[in-house]
């Protein structure tokens, strides 16, 4: 397996540690004038998102992970798997639903997502930063209270529960930030 030594360390490097893929999120070279150089890194586990702090001495090596990111289209989910397709090759991929616990409910059909593949297998999905979702349920808002910061819960067609302003009604389409789950604006009225 190809390796990288400390002089090749940089942010964004994808490495394999104890059989799991990591992204080098932070890397700092430190050295007292006369003393030993160390490379301090923070590594994000690409399977579970956990952060790992590791310190390396000059000349140490890490195995490079066979990790690549591709843009794919979300097709549908069947309860057990989410299905994606490479729009150029029509090749299809599936990810178990439990791996998409957080972001699965923000996926809309045909959305272009970034999927990370490790050794050719998809391991994680990043949806587009903003998606348009249709409100399927929310309590009616009180008339005349369309301004201000009054918020209420709403359910959207993908199943996500979000917080929306009081003036949003069922069948309205709203834009949502997939990273925070927050409402951004109303796209169209019912």
């Amino acid at each position: 397996m190809p390796t990288a030594n400390t002089s090749q360390f940089k942010r964004g490097l994808k490495v394999e540690i104890e059989g799991e893929p990591y992204l080098m999120a932070e890397m700092e070279f430190t050295k007292p004038g006369k003393g030993q150089a160390v490379y301090r890194t923070k590594l994000r586990n690409l399977l579970n998102g956990r952060m790992l702090d590791r310190t390396f001495k000059n000349g140490e090596t890490l195995e490079l992970a066979d990790v690549e990111e591709r843009s794919v289209q979300y097709l549908y989910q069947d309860g057990t798997y989410f299905h994606f397709m490479n729009p150029d090759s029509y090749e299809q991929y599936e990810l178990p639903a439990e791996k998409l616990e957080d972001i699965g409910k923000f996926l809309v059909e045909e959305a272009t997502c970034d999927v990370i593949f490790w050794n050719g297998t998809p391991i994680s999905v990043t949806p587009p930063p903003h998606v348009e979702l249709k409100v399927t349920y929310t309590e009616p808002g009180a008339k005349g209270n369309s301004t201000g910061n009054v918020q209420k819960p709403a359910t959207v067609h993908t199943g996500a529960e979000i917080t929306v302003p009081i003036f949003i009604n069922v069948d309205d389409v709203v834009r949502v930030d997939t990273r925070t789950g927050e409402y951004i604006e109303r796209v169209s009225k019912s």
Partner: protein
């Protein structure tokens, strides 16, 4: 490339430096950057290069500091000297490190390290008035470790440092237990102690362990600890300068170089030829003196508020 305003400030600092030393009758010198031998240090790598000498290939080194030739000048009777030198250290790339950087190095015959600390303080105060009016603090290496990490560096173990790192959530490198005690102390220093040093008032750290003496004289302190007459200046967590009450004993110097080479070989780094100018200077009889090397790029960083060395110099 750094912004032109930063380069202007850099030029002003260069001019102020020259004024500072002219007013004190310190002579500016300009010695070679290429040498046949180097000041051998366990953890500093010069950049080797091949040059044609009398028709054949020879290895030369881009020097890690101009110490050897400057000491040779002192031995020849130059009196006090200073130099802006480009210095080269292979593999050092980071926010505060560049493989080629600018070093301001100066030597004061007749000074000891405390007198030189006084002058370094006056110099920094003249160039960067923003450091404030407070007298720079001075603490021993031992005091700094005791205050920041409750460790006595003269009576500790790698195991104790490992436990302290664990408590402070500092990840230690693999094989930490088999490294040297100095390497362990250095890890704690850079990861935990350094960022706090000189935070409010610039701080001189002095009286280093004998094993970190490098080119400094050694004496016994009041408690009988063998300490090196070496100092470092820290401002806002940045290691700015390293100085010595210079070692004068040629055979001791040769022994330290050879010990450094031995440590290099044990750690799979090449042994290096010794700096002949430096050894010759000590053999001829260099006057007693103190010397200091100050990272000029880091000084520009402090003056401009830059947080990355690449913002104050090319490359």
């Amino acid at each position: 490339m750094p912004p032109i305003e930063v380069l202007r400030r850099r030029a002003e600092l260069l001019a102020s430096t020259r004024e500072f030393f002219a007013a004190r009758d310190v002579l500016e010198v300009d010695t070679p950057l290429l040498g046949e031998g180097v000041v051998v240090e366990e953890h500093i790598d010069p950049i080797p290069c091949q040059v044609q000498v009398e028709g054949s290939n020879a290895t030369r080194y881009l020097l890690t500091s101009p110490e050897g030739p400057m000491k040779r000048l002192l031995a020849a009777g130059s009196g006090p000297i200073y130099q802006f030198a480009h210095a080269f250290r292979d593999g050092e790339v980071g926010r505060r490190h560049a493989p080629e950087f600018t070093m301001l190095e100066w030597y004061r015959p007749g000074f000891d390290h405390h007198q030189l600390m006084d002058e370094v303080e006056a110099f920094v105060r003249t160039l960067i008035p923003e450091v404030g009016d407070n007298v720079f603090e001075r603490k021993t290496y031992r005091e700094v470790f005791l205050e920041s990490a409750s460790i006595d560096p003269f009576a500790t173990s790698i195991e104790e440092i490992r436990r302290t790192c664990e408590r402070l959530a500092i990840a230690v490198p693999a094989d930490f237990e088999n490294g040297s005690l100095d390497d362990a102390l250095d890890l704690l220093l850079v990861c935990h102690i350094e960022p706090q040093l000189g935070a409010e008032v610039p701080l001189f750290v002095h009286d280093y362990p004998e094993s970190q003496a490098a080119l400094a004289q050694i004496h016994e302190d009041a408690a009988g600890r063998r300490v090196a007459e070496r100092f470092e200046l820290y401002i806002q967590g940045i290691e700015l300068a390293n100085g010595y009450h210079e070692l004068l004993d040629a055979s001791e110097q040769r022994r330290r170089f050879e010990a450094a080479n031995q440590a290099r070989v044990e750690n799979d780094r090449p042994a290096l030829p010794l700096d002949a100018d430096l050894l010759e200077a000590l053999e001829i009889g260099m006057p007693a003196c103190a010397g200091v090397a100050l990272g000029f790029d880091r000084l520009v960083m402090l003056a401009t508020g830059a947080t990355d060395i690449r913002d104050v110099r090319f490359g």
